[in-house]
Symmetry: C2
Subunit: 122 residues, 2 copies
Amino acid sequence: MNLKPTESELEILQVIWKKGQCSVRDVHEELAKNKDAGYTTTLKLMQIMHEKGLVERNTDAKSHLYKALISREQAQQGALDKIISTVFKGSTSDLVIQALGQHRASKDEIDAIKDYLKQFDK
Amino acid sequence: MNLKPTESELEILQVIWKKGQCSVRDVHEELAKNKDAGYTTTLKLMQIMHEKGLVERNTDAKSHLYKALISREQAQQGALDKIISTVFKGSTSDLVIQALGQHRASKDEIDAIKDYLKQFDK
DNA sequence: TTTGATATACGAAAACTATCGTAGATATTT
DNA sequence: AAATATCTACGATAGTTTTCGTATATCAAA
């Protein structure tokens, strides 16, 4: 089974992750802010995600409620693994440095990272 | 013009980046180690990449030689931008911390990152 | 110079993804 | 209860990406 979400599926997962549990309409209205596709498009995608096992749903009510079966962390890890191997030659530090360089992390972000790195000191 | 390489195109670019200049056969043999697709598949993909302007080629000899027209750094940045916005809620530090956490960066890598971060002190 | 290996070109099929329209069920409003 | 709104199901289409077969050219070896 292929657990790797497509681009559109990720957009949907984002909404579900944020809200915890969503109807198709919830997701659709959120997506409609930045994108314009019909309601049935979102519905169909979510049905496919259900077939794939990316989400589960409660069909008790007329309007079904969806929950994610893949965590944001899993998706993050999958995305990282992929780009580290395809464009960063397997080097995590290359990725980190490139990320910090171009994205001009804020002072808070830099501090968060420094804090994190302290655990490696002894 | 769409400069964003597809998944397969990235696999090919990887080989070209590593070797600097490649014939279709060079790329194909490298890919064949991990994947099995026919020679003409690789050829076709590289021809499409040429049409798209992702690579240039020298057709003097019978066997054409391809060079990348997009740098590894550009591709890295594109890949980072995408995943930061789709799975990391726009947070670079989330990405960095997740990357360091799971990938168990080596001491050298950690040191490289610490060095890099020093530039933000003053 | 004929044969065999290796190239490119390129159309077309296959696979995957995204989009939509329509049908029919269920709920809500008047 | 009839009309209206909202939901799911699902087939069909369109778009993109990947794969491959076949034709044809070029080179090297017998």
